[in-house]
């Protein structure tokens, strides 16, 4: 009977974990460029930023969920890639891992360099953050986080170079 209960509990956990993984809907991303300067954003760049930032979060989610630093290669570079790679390595080492599920990103572009080689944005992101030790769920939080994002152009896409969370209330 005890064994049966254990098996049932394990199945329930597996279902629960699988349910969370299955086909997470794409996060909603809005980009506001009203206060952007000094360079004016190009129409194509605006589309690329929205698309590539969304894909960056998706790859971050995959990298952290499956402990695969290689998933970061596509949309992260520089400090951001180094930091998240370190995070994945420490997840592997400790067996603890963070699962992000991003629901919504409200992006405000705040700086676009005159030569078009860097863009800074602020992101107010609505996330679900889970902390697991092995398969044991330690914490689930619905959080709203503010990020300062630095993106730079790559060969065919914009890459996240820095993604730094900042406290609530910063202008």
């Amino acid at each position: 009977m005890k064994l049966l209960l254990l098996v049932l509990a394990a199945a329930l956990i597996a279902f629960y974990v699988g349910y969370l993984h299955a086909d997470e809907p794409a996060a909603k991303i809005d980009l506001n460029t009203d206060t952007l300067g000094p360079r004016t954003i190009e129409e194509l760049t605006e589309k690329s930023i929205v698309r590539d930032y969304g894909l960056a979060w998706r790859t971050l989610r995959d990298a952290l969920n499956h402990n695969q630093p290689g998933a970061l290669e596509g949309y992260f570079t520089g400090f951001a890639k180094d930091d998240f790679s370190r995070l994945v390595q420490s997840q592997l080492k400790t067996g603890v891992h963070v699962r992000y599920s991003d629901r919504n990103h409200r992006l405000t572009a705040i700086f676009y360099s005159p030569s078009g080689d860097a863009m800074q944005l602020r992101d107010r992101a609505t996330l679900e953050m889970q902390i697991l030790d092995g398969t044991k769920l330690l914490s689930t939080q619905q959080v709203t986080r503010n990020y300062l994002v630095l993106m730079t152009p790559g060969a065919d896409r914009w890459l996240v170079r820095d993604l730094q969370s900042i406290p609530e209330g910063r202008p």
Partner: protein, 369 residues
Amino acid sequence: MKYVLSISIGAVTFLLICIAWLQSGGLARERMRSSRTPDEATRLLLTQVQARNWDKALSSLANTNDVDKASFVHDLGGSNGSLLTYATLEKFDVWPLHANEQQATVRAKLHYSTAVGPLDDVRDFQVQRAGDTWKVSWPAGKLEKPAPQVIPVNYLRWEVINRGAEDDWGVQNVDSPQVRIVSMNALQRPDRVVILGEIVNEDTIPAYINVGATLLRADGNAMAQENSFDKISHILLPKQVSPYRIDFPGVQLKDIKSVRMDAKSMLVPASADPVIAVNRQRLETDPLGKKVLRGELLNQSGQIVNIPHVLASYYDGSGKVIWVSDGYVDQELQPQIPVSFAVDLPDDIAPKVQNYHVTVNHFSSSHTS
């Protein structure tokens, strides 16, 4: 029994040899050994050339003793890494121009397949009667070689050192060269739409360039995308201008709302050497009745240019580019020795041409810039 086996093996071997001989055109060669007409004499020569059998080809000439073998081979088989050395004479067409009892002129169109695509060469052969047979008389002449000399070459060369991948972000890299499309013209040709024009390197460093075009439909969606491939001088020195041409086979101009042009440039190592003069340019009609732009290339530097590539842009009275044609030259450019070239021009464009400009791409085995 053992004799039967030996005889069978011998017979099969003989049969295979015969098949191979027939396959290699042996029958045709044998049939033409007699050369009873000027056509047959020309065919015999070209068959030997096709087989790269230079000794036999040379011995079939009327003036074998007057012909320098090196010059003969250079003329038909190329040398010094020229395009002909990478070419195969696929086929040829021969037809008589005029003939009398002792002499005839035969025109041959030689179809080569080369590393850069098919290449046609039209030649007129003088054929002489020698007893019962006819033989081609090859123009006597020695292969022109540059005189021993020292040619000082002190043009600039640009090398590029980029920051490595491991360097910190923000460490300055060198910007790509600034290039600009100075003209663009879309033409409807019978079987295609052609986008052509000119591009200039506005920068102070060499640029590797490529021009692409995307045809857009009325709804704004892309219909087709192509680039200039080899119809452009890819390496442009500072302030150098190149024509470009982009072909869209099977497309109609009326289906296109607009064209999106895309000029890409990269910083590459390059050399200002060699300088190639394009002399004696003139528009003519060739023996086949086609309009051609002819001229001579003169390599003013000291290094052999293995494969020259001629690009010509043609302008109408208002200075608009109305056509771009190109052609590879099958001979190498030896220093200071002129080599002729011809590039064709569509018959309907030729009457509108008021001016033209020729540039030369060059490929050398030591460097390509």
